[in-house]
């Protein structure tokens, strides 16, 4: 009897390592997609009177944009203007109901890379991100040579205006909404 028990025990002993299974280690990484748009309006300092002066050749900074995204296909930024890509006369907290030529000035935008954060993707070609207008929503795709996740990547939004002598005096304003989307 002892012999039989010993045999069974020995059998189990030898087969225990054989019965050991592989271990699979799983880890999930949540999607990260967010944007922080910080108004940094240098237009007023650099161009005190937009009627008489154009913006400097490289434009005037109007916002700094910070993006986080870890989608392996990259992301896009969509720019939408409240005023069809124009700075519009703004008085008593409202835009004019009956808009005349002296009530607005058109602008173009450049998006350039800032100095801080990590952009895990190549910047899009200049033709896709410089000199664009916002008469319609404008989309810039960040999907070239995706290497790693983008973390607090800084972008600078530059505005260009060309002096327009026929403007009325006052404040001219627009609101630009920037939206980040996974590709």
């Amino acid at each position: 009897m002892k012999y039989i028990i010993w045999l069974i025990f020995s059998f189990c002993w030898f087969f225990v390592p054989v019965n050991a299974d592989d271990t699979t280690i799983n880890g999930d990484l949540d999607s990260i997609i967010n944007i922080n748009v910080v108004t940094d309006n240098q237009l007023k300092q650099q161009v005190p009177d937009i009627r008489l002066q154009s913006t400097p050749p490289n434009g005037s900074t109007v916002a700094r944009i910070y993006c986080n995204n870890n989608n392996y296909n990259g992301f896009s930024l969509t720019f939408v203007s409240d005023r069809l890509g124009r700075l519009v006369f703004f008085k008593n907290n409202e835009y004019p109901v009956d808009e005349k030529d002296g009530h607005f000035i058109g602008y173009t935008l450049d998006l350039i890379q800032g100095e801080t954060g990590q952009l895990g993707i190549d910047m899009p070609p200049e033709v896709e991100r410089k000199g664009f207008t916002l008469y319609d929503p404008y989309i810039i795709y960040f999907n070239d040579n995706v290497q790693e996740a983008t973390y607090d990547a800084e972008f600078i939004l530059k505005m260009h205006t060309v002096k327009k002598a026929s403007l009325f005096h006052g404040v001219f304003q627009d609101t630009i909404t920037v939206t980040i989307t996974d590709l």
Binding site: I50, R51, K100, D101, T179
Partner: protein, 186 residues
């Protein structure tokens, strides 16, 4: 166990929603400074065109006596006030001063037209003719430029025309008045 799982999932949803801000706004703005300027260039043409206004009326449309340029960029427009030193009359002027005791032969009434000149850009339309023609300066006159205002006014040229009617009983001599213009935002 089910309750714990439910709370865990709920926490993940809440934390995800708080974190995922996928759009932001910026409000770029620029400014345009106020301009309100007027330059008046007086003419001496009345004596040239009408050497004897005792005998003759001024030509139809009047005689230009001043041209002025205006710049203004108020979105409501501007107004020009015209004020005569002698109540809308040319008064005889002797030895550097007006005659002190003005008789009927010492003055002649005039009226004024305000007309658009060729230069510059006027931001709106000229006021209706009844507001800017045959102006009697016996009291101060205000002419408002606020019609169909599309753009600012930049060095718009306006001409001031004078009209007189022949007055036979005038004394000989030099006749004079001073008209003051003041421009103001509306």
């Amino acid at each position: 166990m089910k309750i714990v799982c439910f709370i865990g999932i709920l926490m993940m949803i809440i934390s995800g929603a708080t974190w995922a801000g996928t759009s932001g706004k910026t409000a770029p703005a620029g400014e345009v400074e106020n301009i309100l300027e007027m330059n008046v260039v007086p003419f001496e043409s009345l004596s040239t065109v009408l050497p004897e206004f005792r005998k003759y009326d001024t030509p139809a449309g009047g005689v230009i006596i001043a041209a002025f340029t205006i710049s203004n960029n108020d979105s409501n427009g501007f107004q020009i006030s015209l004020k005569s030193e002698q109540g809308g009359r040319l008064i005889r002027f002797v030895d550097g001063q007006y005659v002190s005791n003005v008789k009927d032969g010492d003055f002649i009434y005039y009226t004024i037209h305000l007309e658009r000149g060729p230069g510059g850009q006027l931001g709106g339309e000229m006021p209706p003719e009844n507001e800017r023609m045959n102006l009697d300066l016996s009291s101060e006159i205000l002419v408002q430029f606020d019609d169909q205002l599309d753009v600012s006014t930049i060095e718009a040229e306006l001409n001031l025309m004078i009209n007189t009617k022949a007055k036979e009983n005038l004394f000989k001599g030099q006749y004079k008045d001073v008209i003051t213009f003041v421009i103001a935002d509306l």
